[in-house]
Structure formats: structure tokens, C-alpha cells
Assembly symmetry: C2
Homo-oligomer: 520 residues x 2
């Protein structure tokens, strides 16, 4: 990951040169402080809110004009947000936040040392309203719904921040900044903005660039004047989390063309380099998140994340998280499983079960064909873990959507996949997926495996970078403004491409020379 080489802080403490007032220098207290700060910072633009100005005379006299000040910078200049005696502890803290729709991650940073002090994550409490974003958006349209979603999130955030601060023996008011990245809907919930039009054609967010908002205005328990930097979005379906990913992977720092993909219910894609960026998003379906398959689960101990099938014996080798008895399967495990089924000839190129290959593993319940992946006696639940034909069909639609989105965006910018030097995969999915399996399924292009780079949680990485560096903050804005958004819903070619991609790996086998399945 590049792009984090420069660290000019935009939240900092300074000790202004102040001479106490005298008959020879009757400059007012507020103006005296601002003058001192301007001199120390070497700028003409130092501002403070009127509410703070009121407190300045008493503070200056209490501290005998020997003070340290906390300021943050935006396009208007430096804003004074805190004043302490010079002798006070010079520490300065801030939080990076990944506003995930499933999981929220908090990272407490020491802004002086730029070190991570602690990180913690928790399930997004909005899950109680709905696991998927659309349910939440509809809930927000009910009376009091938006406020409920907002306060669920903010209250839980405040609890976790307080607990984190207690753990580190830091007063929450010493946390003087926050940087939050999330998808567009999550950002709206966080800010209390109406998401009504996000999911309605022509899919318009309330705001693209929230930039900085005072913590107090958002109900956060950190210092009320602390700036909260909220990542901008390119549209309703290309959110701040993806901008954070673009920042974190450093793809805009080089001329080499890279792809960045974030796979979830929506597949979000950005392609480009230092000169240009194109982005698009499309529904991939929840199959890739493991959210739909009968035995689908989010990653947890006992969840299948790795499957191998011996092409000769057809024996299954099942890997689970922490090696616990299997209880379900996650997205990356599902992709492994279906790829292996294909390579073993147990499903055909349309993804349909091949009865003679599946043998006794294939059962039929209520007219639906199911493959027993783990028999009851080996299962952690005591019941068989099965994969149904509809599960596979859903996965194939999802992978076809994914591949079609990639193809469409590459065609639009007239780039062949072979010209792509890096293919960054964001999110939990990206961290666990085996690119070999994804290539076998025809979900991602048939490129050398080293092209594929898992980014992990690039939202929290991007948020951390933007928190620490003015250059990174500027880069975010530049990235956002540079992304040309490709609207897939109006793309004529998309449906044709989608149909061709609904085969394993593809109707056009020349696109996947490395895949040699048993079906040949």
C-alpha cells in the first residue's frame, strides 16, 4: 500500500507565542491569541467559533497567557478548538471508523506518535432493524425511523468509544478528531440524512461531500468541537468505503492501471490510475457474502472457508475457521466449494448437478436437489450441511454479475484485462477468497494470481490515513472528483454480457485459458 508516505497533520497542538497585555499593547484577548497562533502556524487564516471566543479571555488569564492550543485545518484555514495550560499533557487522540453495514470498526489513534493504540469492532446495531441496507432505508422512511437508525448507531458508537477511552485511561474529550468511511447509505444514517432517494431512480444521495462536521452536531461523545471527517461518495452505490479503498491501495499514485473491487450484495468497482478513474456499482446479489445459501454464514469459528475435492476419488477435504467442526459456509468457502465441484465434474458449465458424479451425496428434498457437503455425523450442528441447486444458481448469477460489471467498465474505458497490473480486492471477502477458485468460476478475469491483492479492511485503513495526513485528505477529494461514474442500470450492453457470463467459467472459453475443467 502506497500513498501514506507524507504525514502533514491536519489536527495538531501548538504553543503560540503570547505576550501578556500591557498599556503599550491593548490588543484584545481573542485577537491576541489568534495573532500568536497565526505567527506560530505561519498563516493568516486562524479562525474560531464565537462560542469558543467567549471562553478565551478567562482561559488565557487562568493560564497566564502560557497555553497550548488544539487546532484543525480545512480549506478555510486553521480552526482553534481547544485551549489548555502549556503545562498540560500534550497528548492528542483521534478515531478512525469503518461504518460497515454489518460490522463497525473503531481504531483509536495517537495523533502525536501516529500509532494505533487499540482497535475494536462490533456488529452494527442497525442489524436489528434489517441485515440488508434496503430494509433499513425503507425503515428510515417510517415515522421516527431515520432517527432510530441514527441513534442506534451513535449510541453504540458512544458506548464503545467510552469503553475504549476507559481502557486506555483517556478522557473522551481528549479525542479531538474522527474520520469515518462507509457506504453511502451508512454515511446517511450516521449523519441523520434522509436516504429515501438513494434507492429510487435516479438514485441521488442527499450529499456527496459531507467533509467536516463537528462531533457535537452528530451527538458523538468525543470533544464536541472535534472535526469529524466523513468520506465523500460518488453516488448512491459508490460510497466512501470505496474511496477509502482507492486511497488505501494507492492505485492513484501510479500510472499502471489497477482495478479495485469491493464485493458484497453490491459489487463496487473502480478502475484507473493517477490520471483517470472510472467507477461503477451493480447488484451482485447476496450469494457472494454467503448470506443466501442454506448453510451460508458470516465468517466465524467452524465456518467452512476452504474446500478441496479430489478429482479422482471425489473425496471432500473441508477446512473451517479455527478448525472447529463445520457449522456453515462463508462466501469465500462457497466459491471454493462450487469451483471444486465444477473441476470435479460434479456440476456442469451451467452449474447444474451432474447426478452420476455426485452419487449418493445428491439428495432431493421437497423437489429441490441438494448436495450433502458435510454429513450429519461430521457436522458441528448435528445436521447435514447441504448445498442446493438454487444456492448454486444464485452464486452463478452473482458471479456473472460481477464479471459483467468488470467487463463493462473495462470496455467503457477501452482497456483489456491484460493491461491491468493490479487487481485489489477489498473487504472480508477479499481477504479470504482464493483467486484461483474465483477464476475457475469465471467471476474474475483469468490473470496471473499475483495480480490479485487482498486489501483487508481498506475502509479503516483509508480512514486512518485521512486522519493522519492532510495530503491524504486532499487526495480523497481529488479521487472523488476524478471518478467518472458509469451507470449500469442504463447500460444497453450489460444484459447481453450478463447472459454470456452465466456459464462456468464463461461461454467464451478463450477468456479463461487457465481453467481446464472435467467437463471437457
Amino acid at each position: 500500500m502506497e500513498g501514506s508516505s507524507q504525514h502533514t497533520p491536519w489536527i495538531k497542538k501548538v504553543i503560540p507565542e503570547l505576550v501578556p497585555p500591557s498599556l503599550q499593547d491593548n490588543t484584545a484577548d481573542v485577537d491576541r491569541l489568534l495573532k500568536g497562533l497565526k505567527k506560530t502556524l505561519g498563516t493568516q487564516r486562524v479562525l474560531l467559533d464565537f462560542s469558543l471566543a467567549k471562553a478565551v479571555p478567562h482561559a488565557l488569564r487562568q493560564y497566564e497567557y502560557d497555553v497550548q492550543a488544539t487546532l484543525f485545518q480545512d480549506s478555510e484555514g486553521w480552526h482553534l478548538i481547544g485551549l489548555e495550560p502549556r503545562t498540560a499533557d500534550g497528548s492528542l487522540y483521534a478515531l478512525a471508523v469503518d461504518l460497515g453495514s454489518s460490522t463497525v470498526v473503531l481504531r483509536l489513534m495517537d495523533l502525536i506518535t501516529t500509532e494505533t493504540l487499540e482497535e475494536r469492532s462490533f456488529h452494527n446495531p442497525q442489524i436489528q432493524i434489517g441485515t440488508d441496507i434496503l430494509t433499513r432505508i425503507h425503515f428510515a422512511g417510517q415515522k421516527g425511523g431515520l432517527e432510530k437508525l441514527r441513534s442506534l448507531l451513535i449510541e453504540r458508537l458512544n458506548q464503545e468509544i467510552q469503553s475504549l477511552a476507559d481502557q486506555k485511561a483517556i478522557p473522551v474529550r481528549a479525542i479531538m478528531g474522527m474520520c469515518a468511511a462507509g457506504n453511502t447509505a451508512m454515511t446517511h444514517f450516521f449523519l441523520g440524512l434522509d436516504p429515501y432517494w438513494i434507492c429510487r431512480e435516479p438514485y441521488i444521495p442527499a450529499i456527496n461531500k459531507p467533509d467536516l462536521i463537528k462531533a457535537g452536531e452528530l451527538g458523538l461523545c468525543i470533544h464536541p468541537e472535534a472535526p469529524v471527517l466523513v468520506f465523500p461518495n460518488v453516488g448512491s452505490y459508490l460510497g466512501g468505503d470505496l474511496i477509502a479503498g482507492v486511497l488505501a491501495c494507492g492505485m492513484t499514485k501510479t500510472e499502471h492501471i489497477a482495478f479495485l473491487v469491493d464485493v458484497g450484495t453490491n459489487a463496487e468497482v473502480v478502475i484507473g490510475n493517477s490520471d483517470w478513474l472510472m467507477g461503477c456499482a451493480g447488484a451482485a446479489g447476496p450469494a457472494l457474502e454467503g448470506g443466501v445459501a442454506g448453510m451460508g454464514m458470516m465468517a466465524a469459528p467452524g465456518v467452512i472457508d476452504k474446500v478441496e475435492i479430489d478429482p479422482h476419488t471425489l473425496q471432500f477435504k473441508i477446512g473451517t475457521i479455527e478448525g472447529k467442526p463445520p457449522v456453515g459456509i462463508c462466501g469465500s468457502g462457497l466459491i471454493d466449494l462450487v469451483a471444486q465441484l465444477f473441476l470435479a465434474g460434479m456440476i456442469d458449465l451451467r452449474g447444474k448437478f451432474v447426478a452420476e458424479k455426485c452419487g449418493t451425496r445428491l439428495v432431493e428434498t421437497d423437489g429441490v436437489r441438494q448436495l450433502v457437503v458435510v454429513p450429519p455425523e461430521a457436522s458441528g450442528t448435528g445436521e447435514a450441511l447441504t448445498l442446493s441447486q438454487p444456492d448454486i444458481d444464485a452464486l452463478i448469477r452473482s458471479k456473472a454479475a460481477m464479471y459483467t460489471i468488470l467487463t463493462t467498465v473495462a470496455k467503457t474505458v477501452n482497456i483489456s484485462f491484460q493491461e491491468v497490473s493490479k487487481f485489489y480486492v477489498a473487504g472480508t471477502f477479499g481477504a479470504y477468497i482464493d483467486p484461483r477458485s474465483a477464476i475457475v468460476l469465471g467471476m474474475i478475469p483469468d490473470l496471473p494470481l499475483e495480480t490479485y491483492i487482498p486489501l483487508g479492511n481498506s475502509s479503516i485503513e483509508g480512514a486512518t490515513m485521512a486522519l493522519l495526513s492532510a495530503e491524504a485528505r486532499e487526495e480523497i477529494s481529488r479521487i472523488r472528483d476524478q471518478v467518472t461514474y458509469l451507470e449500469l442500470n442504463v447500460n444497453q450492453e450489460f444484459m447481453n454480457l450478463f447472459s454470456a457470463a452465466k456459464f462456468i467459467p464463461h461461454t467464451d472459453r478463450t477468456l479463461f485459458p487457465s481453467v481446464k475443467g472435467r467437463e471437457e
Copy 2:
């Protein structure tokens, strides 16, 4: 009065070019509005508060993207503060305010036509705490005192604003701006700033340049986002009212050197031209305001404002406001009276009664000599109106202070009075004073009478100019920064000069060639 030739409004309404969103243009609502405003205003800097951003999507859709916006400009750019349907009434109102310590003046302006719609004044309700500023400053130091002073003023202002708006059938929320000028202490009360250090050496205000504050933050009943421009001060005793006077008289628009004097308990003086300004303030005592003399009163019907004494018959010719029977005397009347007493030889050059000239008019009560100015039978109160020796002594100290301040400031900048082309006299005092009488007393320099120009209420004039014109607003800031403040309290020569000025007209008679009194 010059300086009001240019009128670039800094609060205005514009109709942005907006294209409703489509799949081809998915710009968010807030960003779309800002983009439209930037294009229409021809600027890159259009900002809005997050609290307003929240309301934008609903408003835009309700008005079908056909809107008019209200904005104001500061050094950061244009700030959006209001959004209405394009079809709404395009009117725009604002208030100029003179925050006088005795009288507050409100002027309702139509910002579109730049016309004054209505003006009204009322006694400052803080008078119930104390007529003089020092009493109020001390009261502010008591528990709850500052808030009491602030709320007395703001609540009464709100009542008057509401009543003014009702009278003109305007909703108070349609008042989208305010500009207030007052002395430094009044400005502190208005803003709720602690005035504690104003009256304590080294006399430091809390703030010199309050600039713009939201009406809502000040508790004003006009549009809560309306900018309130508060005039800056040069120091604790050189306030925004004087800056307003400098702006209103236009003395900074010409190379000719002018004096501006505002006479009250403090005499505030500015001298200079377009290139330089020097200001100072000194205690003149309340005598010049008519606040101390036994029969002293503020201007009102029946108050003596003009006195003539026939030097031969020693008959008194008394003029009163509205010609009503005399009930007291105001500052300008007092100056007339004492000047006439001097010219008639009834007081000597030290201001002491000359018994043989005063005759039966001179009485003694409790050991204090008093001159009967109006006998009981001619008085509107049924009692004699008298002027005591201590009243005259106080006036002489005040006039000596005034002249010494003028002399000191002129000496400091190495200017002779003869080089002064205009001598502006601000305030009620300036409007009524007869310069001839003031020259006779040696209160002001012996210059041609046409040099003296009464400014009337230059606070409200300056406030109005700054409300209407961006150039005037900039000029205020320039004036404030250009004034060099002369601290009289540390001036060694001041006391010597003061002693010499305690004669009528002066110990050095060559300074007042035009004054030829009977005492010769």
C-alpha cells in the same frame, strides 16, 4: 458624507441554475445546489452549514428544483442561509442597530431597494441597572449579572424587532441580516462577553473583531442563520460606534486631515485621513452630557438648549426644546449658558461667579453658590432652575479634558489645528452644540465655524452603510486596523496640558483669538 457611493450587496438572493437529477447526472442534492449557486455567483466558494444541508434534499424536491436562495458573503466565501421556491416573494430585509448605552436605535432596511422602511429608538433597558457604563460593568461581575444585562437588551430588542416587523407586515424570519455598532462595553453586553477587563488596567477587551455571528447564537428573533455584523473596536474606550463614525463621515476617503470627536462621559477622538489614523479616548466627565449639573437632563421637551445673555442688560434669553416652559438643561444648553456667563463677565476665567455682575441671581444654599437661571415663576417645574459653582467647575474640568485630548493627539501626530480641514462632531451632543459657545469655553480649537460639522447619529449611519455594502464592510476592517491607539493614561504631558486648559478659554489666549470676553 462620502464613502457610500459603492453598493455591492453582501447579503442577497439569487436564483441558481438547477437541472433536476437524472441517471445521466447523479450529483447529490446538496452538491447540485452548491454547483448551481457557484455557477450563478461566479465563485468557487459557496458553503452551507451541515444543519442546513440536512434540509436541502426535501426542500429541492418540494420546490421541484426551482428555487431562490439567500446567501451572505464573508472572507470564506458565500454562505447559503435560506432556500425558498422561486415563486416566493423576493423581498429581503435587514436591520441596522445603534447600540447606544442610553438609547438604542433600530433601522429596518429593504436590502433590495436599499431604502429605510422604518426607524425607531428606545431607552436602553440596561439603564435600570445603571445609567453609566461602569456601574453596568461592575454589575456584570456579579453572579448572573452579565446574563441579566445581555437578556435585558436582547429581549427588548426582540420585542421592538417583532413590533417593527408587525407594523410593516413582515415575518421576522424574513429579516436576514443585522449590523450593530456600539461602544466596546455595549458590544460586550450584546454578545454576552465578559467586560471585566475593559475597565481594569491595561483595559483589554475580550475581542476586537467579532465580525459575523449567527443571529440564532445571539438569541435574536430574526432568521436564526442571519449574519449579525458587529462593529470592531480599537480598544476598551475606542469602540465600534466611533469606527461607524469614521466610516459615516468619510474622513478616510480624502487626503485632507479631519478630526472626529464623539463627546460623552468619555471623549473619543480620531484624527487622520486616507493614509493614517490615530485615535484616543479619555474621561471627559459626565458634565458634557448634562448628566451632572443640578438641573442637567437629557434632551426632551422643555429642556434648555439655547441661552443668550445680553452683555449690557444681563438679561437672559432662554430657548427650550419645543418652546415648552424650562424644566432642565442639556449638555449643549449648558455650554451655551456658561459661555454666555463668561462673555457677560458673570464668571471669570477660572469659571468662578463674579458677584457684582451676577447680582440678585446669585444665591447661596448650604454654603454653595448658585446662579438662578430661571426663576420659579418662569420654570416648568414651579421651582427655580439653578447652576451651582460645582456644576461650572465640573464643566470646566470636562472641557479642559476635551481640549487636552485634542491637543495631545494633534501634538502626537505633529499636526497643528490649523491643518485640520474638517472637525466632525458625532452624537446628540454634536447635533445640538453651538461651536461658537464651545470655542468661547476653550473646549474645541478656535477654527472657522464651517470647519465644525455635526454628524448626528453616525453609529446608525455607519451601521446602515456596512449593512448595504461589501466595500463599506471592508472599509470598517481597514479603519480598525489602521487606527494607532494613543494611550492617554500613560501620557506624561497630559496632566501639564490639562492644567493649562482649565481656564476660559485657556491660559494661552493666543490660541483663541476670536474670543473676546468682558473680563479683559
